[in-house]
Amino acid sequence: MRPARLSAVAAAATVAALTAVTGCTEKGSSAGGDRVVTVTATDDKCEVSKKEFPAGHVELAIENKGSKVTEVYILFPDDRIVTERENIGPGTKQTVTAEVKAGDYTIACKPGMKGDGIRQTVKATGKGAAAKRDPRLDKAVAAYREYAQAQADETLPKAEAFAKAVKDGDVEAAKKAYAPSRMGWERTEPVAESFGDIDPKVDFREDGLEAGQKWTGWHRLEKSLWQDKKIGAEEKALADQLVTDLKDWQKRVGKADITPTSMANGAKELLDEVATGKVTGEEERYSHTDLVDFKANVEGAEKAYELLKPVAKENDQALVTELDKQFGALNTLLDKYRADKASYDFTSYDKVGDADRKELSDGVNALAEPLSKLAAAVVVK
């Protein structure tokens, strides 16, 4: 959870919304001939009637000639979704429209609604094409989006298990399922927060609420389980609500505006989360599972860093050396608080003394300070 301010990712998304693209799906057709791209989807093909079209309004006329339900996407080079159409049944036709700027795009059909899909590269022609980014950075963003999506996908069953335990009224089982259900979220929190409305519903602490705002989500249930030690009808309803809200998150990861800069800043923000919330023990004040969140935050930051590293290395070798060292040092320090390195069973934070907390805080600062320079190392040439 973070205070209500725009994260770097959210800020980037705001800018993008002003300048880039809007996608929408329509039933009718309104575009002129050269702006219509016919997409013929089968179980093993994704044929497009043209590979180039003028920038601006474009319409995909989709026909599913295969045997499986399919989806069709228009994607940016870094796999961010421009627009999409799901649940196109066999033998049916659908129309998707979008406003696109000049540049390269991908049209993907996903028979069976799974995987990366069958892809076609297309181009919107015209002036004002965005400068092409280092393809390695597009790859890094695509890989990070894939990671963020996987975290959301893996979180849902865990959140459902947590919700089930709550609804069964099984306090002990719910306590056990609580921290694991949060890790995917914690690893990719800057992406989740970029949507603005989900974080307040699922990850707010009581002190983060505005007057009149209803307290929902993980921490509300944390308080019931550890402090009040009881589960009532309201808690059961909140458990269902949590799963619903997390499904919303899972569905929106693909459209998050992720850039190399927002990845780098997101990594730093994850460490900021640790510095302000976890090191102090505020985040998990009832369950004291702060170190699990801590580890997840560091893992998520490290993932973004590793993906950006090949480019950062060319621009600032010293920074990369320092970051490798400090990630290593912090991970080693965290390992002191778990018996088994393969498990996420960390020492309860109320058992971590002041001197040890300071050591953790110092380790976070040692990593976060150089990490704050990663964004510049990725954009500078």
């Binding site: 780098a264 800043n265 990593l367 150089p370 964004a375 990725v378 954009v379």
Partner: protein, 422 residues
Amino acid sequence: MTETSTGSSPSPSRRALIGWGGAGLALGAAAAGGAVAMARTGDDVDPVGADTGAAIGFHGARQAGIATPVQDRLHFAAFDVKTDDRAEFVQMLKDWTAAARRMTAGQAVGEGAYGGLAEAPPDDTGEALGLKPSRLTLTIGFGPSLFEKYGEAFGIADARPEALEELPKFAGDNLDRNRSGGDLCVQACADDPQVAVHAIRNLARIGMGKVVIRWSQLGFGKTSSTTPEEQTPRNLMGFKDGTRNIAGTETDRLEKFVWVGEEDGPRWLAGGSYLVARRIRMHIETWDRTSLQEQEDIFGRDKGEGAPVGKAKERDEPFLKAMLPDAHVRLAHPASNDGATILRRGYSFTDGTDGLGRLDAGLFFLAYQRDPRTGFIRIQRNLATDALNEYIQHVGSALFAVPPGVRDKDDWWGRTLFGKEA
């Protein structure tokens, strides 16, 4: 809170007449040579010609911040080292020196606080933009634990000064380890508290990954001046403190009592000093309920003028035998301590209130000396029976060896200790 004197009243030297004469807050730096007042900008020096808030020269044979006229405000920080990589640590000392050189001149650190890459955090944190140099001095010291923990790794084990041992336990000590010790220290003094805090904050930031702050202390209302022309400041007990302090102009006494001599050893410390830092909590509420007579008896001076018992004027020579045997001034006086004399540079502190609703206040005692064994330790042992002890408690303690000054733009803090290959 110790009383020092050589027995003769300080006589201003010729340099004093040129430099420190009439040194007030504004003019104190005039002697530092080429002191220029300037406003802090993100870019270059911008002399504004005023003398308030002037800059104290950073370069010199000795570090500024010791004999320098005492500024109004303090931010003192003790650091612990977190790297055993000598090259990395030395590089940090060089980076610190470069930043200190700029900040003491009223300039922003590195490439400034704004105007740089939008994607990167600025080098300087910015809160001192537009403020004058405010006589900022930054003074570095090395603690005994630096040699203990990193003597081998840094190749400085043999260079440890004999006198650099943890201070012994004194009667009445109730030390909090989280307010004591430290591998390094930086004393930041300035007339503007924001300038002092900015300096420590930026050094701490530059040091991240290499050093961490162990503890820090803010101070106000200097309790001892090194400029006898000024009115002697009062401590939080309401008494004048530091009447007989060594003046910044008393070259002879500085040489004798403050600066480490060439022959004292080790060589790297020649021209430096030893710094004792003690956080002395005052039991303010009980002190305030103490009768005037008892207060004056405890100090051995009267409260209004500051005159020693039986004398009329503050600077009259004290007659120790007229004071009670446990009077503070009597026990702390050089005549009671084989002549032991130290240069005091302490500040009052008030860190809000404690959990019992009492002021968490007192004296952050800073004293420079040529050798702590014949300086602070000698005097503090003699204060075991000090009547003042009923109203004070030492809760923090540290000792540092303070290297000589940074001589020029190519020199750096600690070069004489670490610079063999540099």
